[in-house]
Symmetry: D2
Subunit: 344 residues, 4 copies
């Protein structure tokens, strides 16, 4: 079975394992206070063009999301997100478990607009009973979104302007950041993201690391005592250097970007094959997740040899499915899949 | 200014004040362990036809809602509710503050159906990633709803059957219970409600009391240690007898029902006047809240003399508004309002 | 049975009931936005000598405590309190339920000192692992304490200086405030308390009201959006005017102080009788709670006619008990009790 | 600098790294649903003599502690622990952040007794105001304790009998489990622990793994939906196989026990050297943490070459410090330290 199920089916980029082995018997301080974390933090800050940011390494995305969100909000505030946002759907209510409502906005493609945010904000404050309603305090976006789509620089700028104007924090979930940055359709750089958000994270789990997400806090208001918050929420790894070593390796000589591009390139090949075959696409993605709408019988046939995710039924004959490529996807696997699709 | 703004603009039924005065210097035990509470609990249990229920008195509705809901759910469970439900909209995220997501279902009239609940439940459990999603654990309905509408006995029975079959608790918010029970359109009795839910409350604040809601727990699973929960959530009144005295008075000789009928009767008069005038109704309510859709100029004119709630704009010329009657509404006030409407 | 069990065995001062009755059919806005609340807020601000303070009315003390505390702390911060403090012992973990640890300091008489606070703070910050420990963020004191004892102006000043110097908020729980202010042993005025704390509350439940606590926020940092917090925590009374009317009455012509003095005077008579009888005192209280250490047989004898609280066993023959007087205690009752003690 | 600072200064046992490398490009399902986790779970269940237990892998100890504790308690319940317990001191209030009070019992050596638990329980339930106090619901012990001490089989049996009799869950934090099991002073086996607790975890982070704790739930009541809880609390690793591979390796051919014994043996050599030198011991530990009380000048001298933890000042001349050995400690390092101590 060849897996296109998700982007975390393999281990880590070999150079990470090599570094882990090489450093294995070094004795270092715990909890991220080691030289590898320090080096990784510096490389990330440099890559973000933001020397004065704070960088923290957490083990996973759910942890990063609820730790960041709950750190920024007062108890009666909620976080605005697309209804399809990961925090609204796939984190078992982790944000609510910290006491905060996710204020879900409708979205067709996984994105939300500055205009939607502004309207929601104004609706809240113009209501005579606004004290009886959850007050918006932060906006959460994912980039790429859960549907593989991307914000343009202009859209990000509009969101940032709106948030700043309204006193809302803007948080970007970059679990698949690399695949967004390296997309042929992207006009957004890592520096742009650092400039146009208050806090964001660079995903490692889905882009070459064993695990790990690098939270970058650019807004000084959000920096205070963040390590207390990580610890309290169970996110402080004892052997913190494991995170430092991984990100230090990924941000050495552009490895993170190079392996992300690999995945995007293969995804574009797949996309071309889907279109050539005449499949429609559920979302027009230019990143590592592709969502063809296939005849059910084609899906059944492919499932004999490939694993991929069912997305949703379109009608009796067609369903949308998701194929993921990743840093680890083999070119041969994609070519074999394309041949099998052509033969359907 | 004559107020039809809401159903809590006055104090309490005079017989309650009289009883408070008469008993003022009696010395009683605190926290609901007094003879007035005991008597009130017995009367309510009798009225519910449910001797073995537990009855607790809380000060307000938000408190009652989040105390009941959080007592019934495990941390990863959420409560299903209409998107218009009070807990989803007007409690400043009080349920989320206890860690639980409100799982909002679409609703046109404030009600949800057994079928909606079943589908949502099945969608959850059929999802391969269901452990990554909030698990439904309880269904919350309000009766009457926030839109003045009512569940029929058949609808309630279907909800109860579905909930029982699926292992979900059914909780009924009866903040305006009296106005529902006494509606000419209702085929649901208090005994029915006690039989067809796991827990519910009988609203006092909006039906003749200074304040207070009587939570009735019929499902034995939910009874354990409920007084700890009340105390922890700040809902245990030191002079608990104030709640006992009020409900003891309201449930003496059917006072609660009588004063609720008064409000419903006046609301029906208003409704007839709206229809006679040719107004459409936003919701077809047979209880104390009425939602006419009026020309904006009529609204402006009436606002000079009456206070009532803006509900929502329909178009440039028309808006829906809400008029509430209550146990305290004077017949003359309604008649005056009707005359003024006719004269528009 | 004559009750000295606690200070909330009766209803309310008759002038409150009279005012409730007189205003019963007035129509007012809900949630504290009425003229009675406005008037009461102004009287309280004047009494506190603090025009720019915010005053909010909550129903009960537990509610007031956890709402204030959780509003002031970030999630990883805790509140310093005497181990005997109400929040640490008698609120079913309400503060912890909002996510915050109570950092309990040893106390013999219910009080804590500026020196204790400073040492605890320094211990925290000097620990290499301080990020792994709950960070102190606020100091909670009760005045009078749960043991009837009082802070002197000098002690309060020292606490305030220390807190301000260390960046900690100082919160004073005044559930029995009146009995403290009017004590013959007190050199602390209401203005002093307003000056020497960041936030405090004036207890109504135990001092003449049916229920209600007036939270006074003097520190501007703590004022923002406090009404959202009240609502979210279930503390916003729909008919808010009930609280306004009560405090407006209590702060009219010094009624609050007058009825508190009544209780203190009777308590001092009782204290004198205990001492005359040769009883030792568990705490040297000059307020309405008295803690004599009595022979067990005397206790048993008195229990036939009086109700009072068991406090703790001292040894096999002696136990400490608590007698409370209140605004409602009758002079004859105290005299009868004194005669019965003398006759033992 | 040679580190005896803690037991997580190195990476992982080489055989773990080897296995990670060997399996790196295998494609597996996420979130613990892979064959390595399955194999590891089976080995652990076998080692525990408890086939019907549930085994879950979490990344760290704080996460394991608050996830287990909050899963077992209702909101008004607290967890009994030694005041020195990790959850009470060194987890930044993570348990309180889930809403639960830690009910701290005094302890001289890190242990608590069945008798203490029983008395605390009885004190709670005999109090007339018990509904106003946090109800004990679980007992937390660590084995070895934070002070290196161990429960005997008899003590564990007494705790279990008491807990079962009183309806309390017994939870054992085994962050350093291996060092306890292999101690020359221990009469407790892994099977004993599985039999005498309701839930416990086997620490990997401090005993040979890069990270990871294996939670073993033997009480069926606590098993339901535990994976939802892990996910909600941010503890579900996407590439769950990383945990499976590590524990599968550690429980292959007794590796876990072998490497733990190595650390204990070296710790015993150190202990002998301390005693020979005439140092007193702060705690009489037979596990990998040793707590000599040294002259301050000796400490200063050793700090030039070794890193170890300051524990507490005893008086002006003496302080207690902590030396940790681990699975990774080199025999030569211990011998060098011993020589340097002898030379002081």
């Amino acid at each position: 079975m060849i897996q296109f199920q998700c982007d975390y089916t393999e281990g880590a980029h070999p150079s990470i394992l090599k570094k882990l082995e090489k450093t294995n018997f070094e004795q270092t301080a715990g909890y991220g206070n080691d030289s590898y974390c320090e080096s990784a933090r510096n490389k990330i800050k440099k890559a973000c063009g933001c020397e004065e940011a704070d960088v923290h390494f957490l083990v996973g995305g759910t942890q990063a999301n609820f730790t960041v969100i709950s750190s920024a909000l007062r108890s009666y505030q909620g976080v605005i997100a697309a209804q399809t946002g990961h925090i609204n759907v796939h984190e078992t209510g982790a944000v609510e478990a910290t006491g905060h409502k996710v204020l879900a906005l409708p979205s067709g493609d996984g994105k939300i607009t500055a205009e939607q945010v502004r309207k929601f904000y104004e609706l809240h404050w113009s209501d005579a009973d606004h004290e009886h309603m959850v007050q918006p305090g932060m906006v959460y976006i994912s980039h790429p979104t859960e549907n593989g789509t991307l914000y343009s620089r202009k859209e990000l700028q509009a969101l940032k302007n709106t948030c700043t104007g309204l006193g809302l924090f803007l948080f970007l979930d970059g679990a698949r950041m690399g695949y967004g940055l390296m997309s042929e359709a992207s006009d957004v750089s890592l520096e742009d993201i650092a400039e146009l958000t208050d806090v964001f994270y660079i995903g490692g789990t889905k882009v070459g690391a064993l695990f790990g997400e690098a939270v970058v806090i650019t807004n000084p208001t959000l920096r205070k005592d963040f390590r207390y918050l990580i610890k309290q929420h169970g996110g402080m790894l004892a052997k913190g250097r494991l995170l430092g070593i991984q990100f230090d390796t990924l941000f050495e000589d552009g490895l993170y970007f190079e392996i992300a591009k690999h995945a995007d390139d293969l995804a574009m090949k797949l996309k071309a094959a889907f279109l050539k075959k005449g499949y429609k696409l559920r979302y027009d993605s230019y990143t590592n997740q592709q969502f063809p709408i296939m005849p059910v019988e084609h899906i059944e046939k492919l499932k004999e040899k490939y694993s991929f995710a069912f997305w949703e039924a379109v009608d009796k004959e067609y369903s949308a499915v998701r194929f993921c490529t990743s840093w680890a996807t083999k070119e041969e696997a994609v070519e074999e899949l394309i041949r099998d699709i052509e033969a359907l």
